[in-house]
């Protein structure tokens, strides 16, 4: 008989629209991070490092990159005879076929998958956080409290607590009240969106709420458990944890890796982060190149200058190019003589020669002033930027652009060029 004590369900179906053009063709968990990784590598590596060998990955939005990245789970040792990683997209049923309408609804639609492993506990994870966490310690805490639900929380500054879902606990850590983005927070413990449920409790709650539209953990399932008086506990986590859901926090989290001894250290032998590596060669730094305060991925060739940047695998930075405070993802090419400042360049993008990106005065984004802030230039995957153009701040570019798209050879601050398709 198949029996797993705890299995993980990883919610990876969201678009992550606040990452703008970076997620126009990939789901947020598949976005590159740290010169080598993708965001989903962190929860997946945490799972295997915590001894969880059965993970269901719920996909919906643009799953191609996620599917090829995860494959059969070899990089995370999740290729198992029993268990391992399974990709769980929405599927057609004999009655009421539907998309995943909410986080809890997605789990509800996969009750059969969970049942097949006969677990005692189910760990619910999301695919958009950067952190290292031992879920086994959290499970021990859950068991020692005889809890129905344990929510991972972390202390945040009280001044920022109003941006989070806050939990109010008693002296034993049992949660007495929830407050969603409270104006006057009474506690500084913020929910991290990581839950351990006793499966029988979750199963019952999902079935009871199966007809709730857009059934969501935070809005429906947890309040339901709370109302029924289930034992809900807060597990306090005190390490590095970063939600990379916005361009600003995504850029910041990458830049934090550059510090001499970063708070989030990828160089520790303990608790390695695994990823699919499709590039093995060493990187080449040319005679006239200069690289300082940067991370560089495998197989990159640097002929220009790179400062305070995170560069992915197989990137080519041509002679005379100067890259500062930027993130460049796998396979991008930066033309000779081009200057980049605070740019996020997605995979496979080609930037022409003698361009100037990230210059000019501040201006609000005309595309989406909530997304394109922090003075960043954001360029989607497989885009092309022609030679010799100037691009301002808070701008977005996607698709193959030509000189005609840049009046007077410039895209002013706050502007955008979104074209369908990309280079082949």
């Amino acid at each position: 008989m198949i029996k797993k004590e705890m299995i993980a369900m990883l919610l990876a179906g969201g678009q992550g629209s606040r990452l703008g053009v970076l997620t126009s063709k990939v789901a947020k968990p598949a976005v590159a991070f740290g010169g080598k990784y993708r965001i989903i590598d962190f929860p997946l590596s945490n799972c295997i490092n915590s001894g969880i060998d059965t993970v269901g990955v719920l996909t919906q939005y643009q799953p191609l990159r996620l599917n090829t990245h995860i494959g059969i789970g070899i990089p995370w040792d999740l290729d198992r005879n029993v268990g391992g990683v399974s990709i769980l997209p929405p599927y057609e049923k004999s009655t009421n076929s539907e998309w995943y309408t909410g986080t809890a609804n997605a789990i509800y639609q996969n009750i059969d998958y969970i049942d097949s492993y006969n677990p005692d506990y189910v760990l619910i994870l999301s695919g958009d956080h950067i952190y290292k966490m031992d879920y086994e310690v959290m499970l021990d805490y859950h068991k020692s409290n005889n809890a129905a639900l344990t929510i991972a929380t972390m202390p945040v500054p009280l001044s920022e607590a109003s941006r989070f879902g806050i939990v109010i606990t008693d002296e034993n850590g049992r949660i007495r009240e929830f407050e969603e983005k409270p104006a006057n927070p009474r506690s500084n413990l913020a929910s991290m969106g990581i839950y351990i449920f006793t499966w029988s409790v979750l199963r019952e709650a999902l079935l009871a709420q199966k007809d709730v539209p857009n059934c969501d953990f935070g809005k429906h399932v947890i309040p339901y458990c709370h109302e029924r008086g289930e034992r809900i506990f807060a597990y306090e986590y005190n390490g590095y944890w970063k939600d990379v859901g916005t361009l600003g926090s995504y850029w910041e989290a990458n830049m934090e890796l550059i510090d001499i001894v970063p708070v989030f250290n990828l160089y520790e032998e303990f608790w390695k982060i695994y990823t699919r590596t499709d590039s093995l060669p060493p990187q080449y730094i040319a005679g006239n190149a200069h690289v300082e305060r940067s991370l560089l991925g495998e197989g990159s060739e640097i002929y220009g200058e790179v400062y305070s940047s995170v560069i992915g695998a197989d990137v080519v930075i041509e002679e005379g190019a100067v890259v500062r405070d930027s993130i460049i993802m796998q396979g991008a090419v930066i033309g000779a003589g081009t200057h980049l400042e605070k740019c996020i360049i997605a995979e496979g993008t080609v930037i022409g020669k003698n361009c100037d990106l990230g210059v000019g005065e501040y201006a609000e984004s005309k595309l989406d002033k909530k997304v394109y802030v922090f003075d960043l230039v954001t360029i989607g995957e497989n885009s092309v930027v022609p030679d010799g153009v100037r691009v301002g701040k808070n701008t977005a570019i996607s698709g193959v652009t030509t000189a005609e798209d840049y009046p007077d050879g410039a895209l002013e601050s706050g502007g955008y060029i979104i074209k369908a398709g990309g280079k082949v």
């Binding site: 093995l280 060669p281 060493p282 300082e292 060739e301």
Partner: protein, 374 residues
């Protein structure tokens, strides 16, 4: 597939000096991210040879660790797989492998139990890309008994006395074969890559063993050259054998040339290796790297010029490293100067030390691993 593979990776080579104290030549790290045997293994898998035996003997621990899973080269299939044969004691044999032919003879069941008609034999110390299928086509077309892959070498650049050298007829049949001659008469070298019909190979090996002969080159190629149709398949692409310190150093330095990197790293097919899950290389303030290869997991604080840094090398503040090869997992303390050296893997180089070799006599630096005691 029409062929099985055999990789001969058992040998030591005295010309590797201290470098072979730790590992077999086939396990020597190459070009920052690879091991020597990766090239033969990748050629096998890229030639769609599904079943490959690696024969090891000398100092095989490091090599066996590298081959801990056959996934990295796409073996590990129901049809085929990667087989590692160390010497073993049996009811009727208590000997080590006494030579290349003997090492295959002692594993004759691998040959007998296969059904593929041909065998490709390669050595683990060659750095090259080759489609063995092309050689096999040639072998069949020439109606050869044995085909030997050969390359013309430049006597001005290569020490020919460390190769097997051949003289060819107009149709490329091998007329004469001299093994590591004191005075070379020819400049066409055998690359140590052979194709033989499997049943033919079994027959040759059995006869060899019955006569107490153990070496594939001396006792089969040279002895049979007038009896069997032995042909040379000439290549003009990059090929290098790393079996001496000088050639090991030069081969690694070759990868600083753009055309060599393009050939191996950018052109089809790929070379595979064991995945190490190291983070990206990190360049801290004060780092100045010029014309060098840097591998994953390195952290650099100093100056590096014309050098190859393997995985997980740490370079301290104010270090100057020139024309050197730093093998895996070396820690280099602050203010250290290293020139014209090969630094052995897992060394701990203390701060404020100097190692300077000569461009014509590369110094090999072997230090203790003091990582956890300092």
């Amino acid at each position: 597939m029409r062929a099985i593979g055999i990789i001969l990776a058992g040998g030591n080579n005295k010309r590797m000096n201290e470098l072979s104290q730790k590992r077999a030549v086939a396990a020597m790290p190459i070009a920052g991210s690879y091991r020597s045997i990766d090239f033969a293994l990748s050629n096998m898998t890229n030639s769609h040879i599904n079943k490959v035996a690696v024969i090891t003997q000398y100092n095989s621990r490091s090599l066996n660790e590298h081959l801990n899973s056959s996934k990295w080269w796409n073996f590990g299939r129901k049809q085929g797989g990667l087989f590692i044969y160390n010497p073993m004691i049996t009811m009727d044999n208590g000997n080590w492998y006494r030579g290349t032919a003997d090492s295959m003879y002692q594993n004759l069941n691998y040959l007998k139990n296969s059904h593929e008609p041909y065998a490709v034999i390669a050595s683990g110390d060659g750095i090259y890309k080759l489609d063995y299928n092309a050689v096999l086509e040639y072998h069949i077309q020439k109606k050869a008994d044995i085909t030997v892959v050969c390359k013309d070498l430049d006597p001005a650049k290569e020490d020919l006395t460390r190769f097997g050298l051949v003289r060819l007829a107009d149709d490329n049949r091998i007329l004469d074969f001299e093994e590591k001659p004191m005075v070379p008469s020819y400049n066409t070298a055998s690359c140590g890559i052979y194709i033989v019909r499997r049943r033919q190979l079994i027959e040759l090996l059995e006869r060899c063993a019955a006569e107490d002969r153990y070496d594939f080159v001396n006792d089969i190629l040279i002895r049979y050259k007038n009896l069997k149709r032995i042909y040379a398949y000439k290549i003009d692409t990059y090929w290098s054998s790393i079996s001496s310190v000088r050639s090991y150093y030069n081969t690694n330095m070759d990868f600083l040339k753009p055309e060599i990197r393009k050939y191996f790293f950018r052109e089809y097919p790929d070379v595979y290796s064991k995945v190490d899950d190291n983070p990206p290389a990190k360049y801290n303030p004060g780092s100045a790297v010029h014309n060098s290869l840097v591998s994953s997991g390195c952290i650099i604080n100093g100056v590096v010029e014309n050098s190859v840094l393997f995985k997980k090398v740490f370079v301290g503040n104010n270090c100057v490293i020139k024309n050197s090869i730093i093998l895996n997992d070396v820690y280099i303390g602050d203010n250290t100067v290293i020139e014209n050296c090969i630094v052995e893997s897992r060394d701990t180089i203390r701060a404020n030390t100097t190692y300077i070799g000569d461009p014509n006599d590369i110094k090999i630096v072997v230090e203790k691993n003091e990582r956890y005691s300092l």
